[in-house]
């Protein structure tokens, strides 16, 4: 008994002025965004920016404090269990059932979703294969590595074949191999048409996975666009990173005016934001500035992020 499919024109998630407060603390401050069917949408931001609170409201486990929110065209309070039937959630901290085996975790979760037993059995075989845990099928959850637990959590979130998958910091704490494996699986899900909503504070993760993203800072959305758009708008195509001796610093500061879009003087490095990194580097050397080391790299979301939210430690 599946619910009728949602027309493609409807945004899967629509938030207008969405707010959440806990006592005096404003966790989410009037944010508006739309997630379309089939896209991978990201919430990028430092810890405490309000990403998880937003995810919990979308997942119907925390009632919206104000504003309007529709998830798959439905109301998250009145139709919470209908919405939950059609979404999958991968929470920030694994909450697998450690008293059950890998397979039992999925079976039990299938029951929570009323997936008929035979349907679930076939689906679980596929899912275990998909997240590459076939060899661990009968193992308890406890001895699994962090990456395996994450993959099992992802498989668990797929047991009801959701239209929408919510992933709260899916690779935080994983080693590089494990991260890439998770990314690869998420990419495949996206290709199959599953809409992904991802929170992360890893810039490379957002760039790898997200078609579109919003940057959150202090409970508000401060920028929105595709990773490329954001880089173009808030940073530059390329960045030149220089390490200089003190006298070379003075020399550079005397001769840099007008050459690049922006200069950032850090204690250990100088960053030049520009459209043409190699050209600028040649120009600087021509002007006689001696660099200890110089690196031309692409502008990244990290540059965007630090430009928008600043470099001071946010805690």
């Amino acid at each position: 008994m599946d619910a009728p499919p949602v027309p493609d024109s409807v945004a899967l998630i629509e938030a207008r002025g969405l707010t959440k407060t806990f006592g005096n603390h404003v966790a989410v401050d009037g944010i508006s965004f739309e997630v379309r069917r089939g896209e991978a949408f990201g919430f990028l931001g430092p810890n405490g920016a309000g990403k998880t609170s937003t995810m919990k409201m979308i997942g119907c486990t925390s009632p919206p404090g104000g504003g309007a929110l529709r998830v798959i065209g439905m109301d998250p309070i009145a139709q919470a269990s209908e919405i939950k039937r059609r979404i999958g959630v991968v929470p920030q901290t694994d909450n697998l059932d450690i008293e059950l085996t890998v397979r039992e975790n999925l079976e039990m979760y299938g029951r929570y979703f009323d997936v008929p037993r035979e349907v679930a059995a076939a689906r679980i075989d596929e899912l275990i294969e998909f997240v590459q845990l076939s060899e661990k099928m009968t193992s308890r959850v406890e001895p699994l590595s962090g990456g395996m637990k994450r993959r099992l959590t992802i498989a668990r979130a797929l047991v009801n074949q959701p239209d929408l998958l919510l992933l709260d910091e899916p690779t935080t704490g994983l080693d590089p191999q494990a991260r890439h494996l998770v990314w690869d699986r998420l990419y495949r899900l996206k290709q199959r048409g599953v809409t992904l909503v991802i929170t992360t504070h890893y810039m490379d993760e957002a760039e790898q996975l997200c078609d579109r993203l919003v940057v959150m800072d202090k409970a508000k959305i401060v920028a929105e666009g595709s990773p490329r758009e954001l880089i173009t708008r808030h940073s530059t195509r390329e960045v030149v990173e220089l390490r200089l001796a003190d006298d070379a610093r003075d020399q550079l500061s005397a001769s840099i005016d007008g050459l690049v879009d922006r200069v950032e003087w850090l204690p250990d490095r100088v960053l030049l934001y520009t459209e043409t990194g190699d050209g600028i580097l040649t120009e600087i050397h021509d002007r006689g500035v001696r660099t200890d080391s110089a690196l031309v790299r692409r502008g990244t979301l990290e540059d965007v992020f630090l430009t928008i939210t600043g470099r001071s430690l946010i805690e």
């Binding site: 806990f22 997942g59 486990t61 925390s62 009632p63 919470a80 269990s81 939950k84 039937r85 959630v89 929470p91 901290t93 909450n95 697998l96 059932d97 450690i98 008293e99 059950l100 039992e104 039990m108 979760y109 029951r111 929570y112 979703f113 009323d114 668990r156 979130a157 009801n160």
Partner: protein, 252 residues
């Protein structure tokens, strides 16, 4: 209603260790009834003080209610806190169509099952010790389970508000244990000073103990209605407050 799914989950976990669990629920009453009922009881000849029954009968019936009561209390502490705070099983359940009410009722239902698997062997041991002499006595089982569930619902409601497990030390030391000692399990409450007797009448365990004794070794009188009502009311209030507290806790 998805509460049954929670019961199934718990029974799956429980099933792995049921032998140990069953063994302990037989061993417990055998030891208690031997030591306290027969051992201590053999020194107590004055049956008048115990409502005209042997000390063994008096003690066994009280102990049955006290066991389920304590077990109900314990079941609603660490095991629940673990799933709520440490393992976060409830968060995982809530991401599915399972709701807060399902979780509360499912857990309480499961506690009911475990109380049953405590009360039935206990009752069997009582029968072997010759305490039971009429089919009516079988009502002691639901009575004892009711006492345990009332207590469990209240303690669950309290657990839902806790941020650490420190409070449990106090709960057991200053509430559960004194109830155990002073609610008429070991000696009739008319041995207490007047104010103590009044206080005992207000405690849930007293009503559980009285109820079990009436159906087992005393005669049932109209006060049984009052005892049942008290326990049912406590169960109802504990459940209502508990669901509200758990909702506030899990869905902030």
């Amino acid at each position: 209603m998805s509460a049954g799914k929670i019961v199934r989950r718990n029974s799956l976990v429980y099933w792995r260790a049921w032998r140990t669990s069953f063994f302990l629920s037989v061993l417990g009453p055998v030891m208690f009834l031997s030591a306290m009922g027969l051992g201590l009881g053999s020194l107590i000849e004055e049956e008048q003080a115990f409502g005209g029954v042997s000390y063994l009968s008096f003690f066994a019936t009280g102990m049955l209610a006290a066991s389920t009561f304590q077990s109900g209390a314990f079941s609603a502490t660490y095991p629940i806190m673990n799933k709520m705070m440490w393992q976060r099983n409830y968060d995982a359940m809530l991401a599915s169509p399972v709701g807060v009410r399902d979780i509360f009722l499912g857990e309480l239902g499961w506690i009911g099952v475990t109380l049953l698997q405590l009360a039935v062997p206990f009752f069997g041991v009582m029968a072997v010790f010759g305490v039971v002499d009429s089919p009516m006595a079988l009502l002691a089982i639901p009575a004892a389970v009711l006492a345990g569930l009332s207590c469990a619902s209240a303690v669950f409601a309290y657990t839902a508000t806790l941020q650490t497990d420190e409070a449990y030390t106090w709960l057991f030391r200053f509430i559960i244990t004194p109830l155990f000692l002073l609610s008429g399990t070991f000696f009739p409450i008319n041995q207490l000073p007047e104010w103590g007797q009044v206080a005992a009448h207000l405690t849930p365990l007293f009503h559980g103990v009285e109820l079990v004794r009436q159906v087992t070794v005393y005669n049932v009188d109209v006060s049984a209605l009052w005892h049942v009502s008290y326990l049912l009311a406590m169960l109802a209030i504990g459940t209502m407050v508990g669901i509200r507290n758990l909702d506030r806790r899990l869905r902030p």
